[in-house]
Amino acid sequence: MSRDNQRIIQEANAQTMQQLTRRHFFQECITGMGAMALGSVLGSCNWIGSKDAGSLIHSNPLMAHAPHFAGKAKSVIYIHMAGAPSQLELFDFKPDLMKLDGQDCPPSLLEGKKFAFIRGVPKMMGPQANFKQHGQSGAWISEHLPHLSTVADELSFLKAVQTDQFNHGPAQLLMHTGTPRLGRPSIGSWVTYGLGSENNNLPGFVVLTSGGKNPDAGKSIWGNGFLPSVYQGVQCRTEGDPVLFLKDPAGMDRDLRKASIDAINEANKLTYEEFQDPETVSRIAQYEMAYRMQIEVPETMNINNEPAYIHEMYGTKPGEACFANNVLLARKLVEKGVRFVQLFDWGWDSHGTEENLAIDFGFVNKCRATDKPVTALLLDLKQRGLLDETLVVWGGEFGRTPMQENRDGKKNPFKGRDHHTEAFTMWMAGGGIKKGFSYGETDEIGYSAISGKVTPYDIQATILHQLGFDHEKLVYPFQGRSFRLTDVHGKVINEILA
């Protein structure tokens, strides 16, 4: 570019700058300024729904409120086996798959399909467990779950669950937030948003993890998304302090703590009156709840005081971080009126790439560690008269292939199965669900669902329905439209309702 051209451009810029005078600002921008001013004036007057906003400051966002209709369930315990347990070694018995064991997978099962790790032509793999029918309902359950088999008649199986996400993170997000992408509220948040909590001294939505790792999708699967943050899942620990930083710091007694929380909340109330941000109300509620939780949480989260017969029943090990302890805690929390307890147990991703992830080793050990506590939970809820009003959900984020995984086309060191989206098993119990029932069918080798297909949206719709919600009406306005958990999908699985 020549020097002259540069000068011309500089000149033009200078001219433009000169024309953007104070007068120009007033002439051209006055309407915008006016609109902003009006907005802020009206905003502070809060002429729309002023009553609601006014009362918000005084009310607790977690106060219990009525659902759309009287739901059968009051609480939910959702046991998520993170990594996705194999349905073919637990509930979906496929003797025909045994006959194909070791044979090349027919091309019809591979054409146009995408797998997470299977490449080329894998071998079919028969069930790596013996099955028997159990209970009056004749449910097929494998030898890996000897305890659960004894309560088969309490369960409703969903044998043909389908998802469209074959990686852990997105599939878990879809299962819990209704979308494979980040940013939406989790089902527990929706439930506490809709129902509040029956116990003011405890959070409405508690999360407990085990298996040594958090689920792949991270904390966003119990996040509040665009809902006020008071509805997010509160992760409690089973070792040490259940909730971090809940204790009073050294040298601060409870009265001083109370006085400082009151002072902070007074300041927050003024902030709220000025800006009307619902997050401020959340913050006030959280401070107050944290104060109340100081007493109640350590008490509820302490399993040491449980009688010996309970410890024997669940197989709990006080002081350790383990799945059994979490299951017992889930029962205690539900008993105390917590709405939604989410258990995540990591370690079910049985690819066969290492011993812990082998379908005939690590997987079996996971079954052994979880079978007794889950069974104990169902029976303990039952004898406490709580099973009818507590919905227990068990499942993973997808299923596993009838083919043996051959990572990158090579034989894996151990037996394992790849991620499978087209058909897997989940079960529900209690909370107004049919007892001893099975819904949905897969083909002879458990590859695809042939009847009674359900999606994660259907499961979410059903959970909400049992709590008394029409999933199409439980909405939250955000970015100009009403959002709901099931987005534009979801159908209540009426077939499994008692």
């Binding site: 009525a66 052994r368 007794k372 069974t375 039952k382 004898q383 406490r384 329905h465 077939e495």
Partner: protein, 466 residues
């Protein structure tokens, strides 16, 4: 060209409403103009009649094009066609009379037109919505799509086609594929028609679901254009689909009974489900059928201030549910407030409550209670005796209390109890039978479940050990 006429034909159901509206307006104007106040309207009458007759003519043309599809019952169609043509003709006459201000003749024309419009409109409705659409109960048409097949006394003895398949077809298919309307030339309202098929050939191949169009269309993805029943219409339930599949695959016999056809466990379940209640969420019994006046908000608020969770059981109900999980001791204030909720309160939870005699008296006065959870509470046989007044009680939880069998046996009025939870009470195993006789409707849960230890529970499996 064919395509265009088809599209134009589809406008018939829209266009027909124009002559109906315009001609009715013309008649109205005519009658109004006889009054002095509205005399000025008379100039509008010929215009209305002209517009009415032109749109009537257009409706006739589009209607004729639509009739070519051959999907309708011919007798009704013929009648509708000629009545429609008559409407166009009579309205044209009306135009001529009104232009020449021959009002005495026009009066007869308007009366004739009124009758013709009504009859033609009704016939059109019959063609679109099926025979007898006017009198079909609104409850039937509004039924949830999950509420499916009729109930059968004995599904195994039932004739599969007549008792199971036909009612299903009648409910979900006859609207468009029976006597009045035959979309795609297909009728499904008798054995002969089903076997004959539609204008594109056979729809049922006995023994083969893969070649039976009547089944294939049903399992198509609902977003596909060819999916049946069409989008927005009541769909087949999963149970109906399973039974239809079973019937076709087993040879589509029109005379056989259920028990004469081989059944898988899924079919057995579907069949026995026909005998039971319809697949809709059953109504709960622990909520009264009637509604009640709203409880005072000040009372609810004062209870909430004492950490009592109390709220309506659902958004459109005034029945109340209360949970005292954070309030195990009652003061006089609470007792007073609870007494004022005696009409509305139906569910009450007092886990771990340590209550005085007066508080139990308060509870005894809550005579609408359906559910009472008093687990871990201080309740004794003496307190329980007072609760005899709770004759609506269905759910009673006394887990981990000092209650004995004697205490329960003194309950007389509480025969509605359906769920009784008694684990960890002072009740011995030998007394359960006596209790069972006392509460015949109740499922009595005595707990004491255990999950026996199995050696593998704590063993880890490793490659070497295998």
């Amino acid at each position: 060209m064919l395509f265009i006429t088809e599209v134009v034909a589809h406008f018939h159901p829209v266009l027909v409403h124009l002559p109906i509206g315009i001609l009715l307006l013309a008649i109205l104007f005519h009658w109004l103009s006889t009054k002095e106040k509205y005399a000025g309207l008379s100039t509008a009458i010929p215009i209305a009649y002209l517009a009415g007759s032109i749109t009537a003519l257009l409706s006739c043309i589009t209607g004729y094009l639509l009739s070519g599809s051959g999907e309708y019952d011919e007798t009704t169609l013929n009648l509708h066609q000629w009545m429609g043509i008559l409407v166009a003709f009579v309205s044209a006459t009306g135009y001529l009379f009104s232009r020449t201000k021959n009002y005495s003749q026009l009066k007869w024309v308007s009366i004739a037109l009124l009758i013709l419009l009504t009859v033609t409109g009704h016939l059109g409705g019959t063609l679109t919505h099926g025979e007898g659409y006017l009198w079909k109960g609104s409850s039937e048409s509004k039924k949830d799509s999950t509420a499916g097949t009729k109930l059968i006394a004995n599904a195994q003895e039932a004739i599969v086609y007549k008792d199971i398949i036909q009612p299903m077809l009648q409910q979900k298919c006859y609207n468009c594929h029976a006597a009045t309307k035959q979309k795609g030339g297909l009728r499904l309202d008798s054995e002969e028609w089903i076997i004959k098929g539609g204008k594109n050939g056979k729809v049922l191949v006995a023994g083969s679901i893969d070649s039976s169009e009547v089944y294939k269309r049903i399992i198509l993805d609902p977003i596909e254009e060819k999916h049946m029943p069409p989008k927005g219409k009541s769909q087949l339930t999963e149970q109906e689909r399973v039974l239809l599949q079973w019937w076709i695959a087993s040879g589509a016999d029109f005379a056989k009974k259920s028990k004469e056809i081989a059944q898988t466990s899924a079919i057995k379940t579907a069949l026995s489900a026909l005998e039971k209640t319809e697949i809709v969420a059953s109504k709960r019994t622990d909520v009264p059928d009637v509604e009640i006046a709203k409880a005072s908000e000040t009372i609810l608020e004062s209870l909430r201030k004492k950490s009592v969770t109390v709220f309506e059981i659902s958004a459109n109900s005034n029945w109340l549910s209360a949970n005292f999980v954070n309030c195990t001791k009652w003061d006089a204030d609470i007792e007073k407030n609870m007494s004022s909720l005696k009409d509305q309160l139906i569910w009450l939870k007092i886990p771990g409550a340590q209550l005085q005699e007066s508080s139990w008296k308060t509870i005894a006065a809550l005579t609408n209670l359906r559910r009472l959870s008093a687990e871990h509470s201080s309740i004794t046989d003496k307190d329980l005796e007072q609760l005899n007044s709770l004759n609506q009680l269905q759910y009673l939880n006394l887990v981990d209390t000092k209650i004995t069998a004697k205490g329960l046996l003194q309950l007389k009025a509480n025969t509605n109890i359906t769920n009784l939870f008694l684990s960890r009470t002072g009740i011995g195993a030998q007394e359960f039978n006596t209790l069972k006789l006392k509460f015949p409707k109740a499922v009595i849960d005595t707990g004491g479940y255990n999950v026996p230890f199995i050696a593998t529970d704590t063993q880890q499996l490793h490659p070497k050990e295998k």
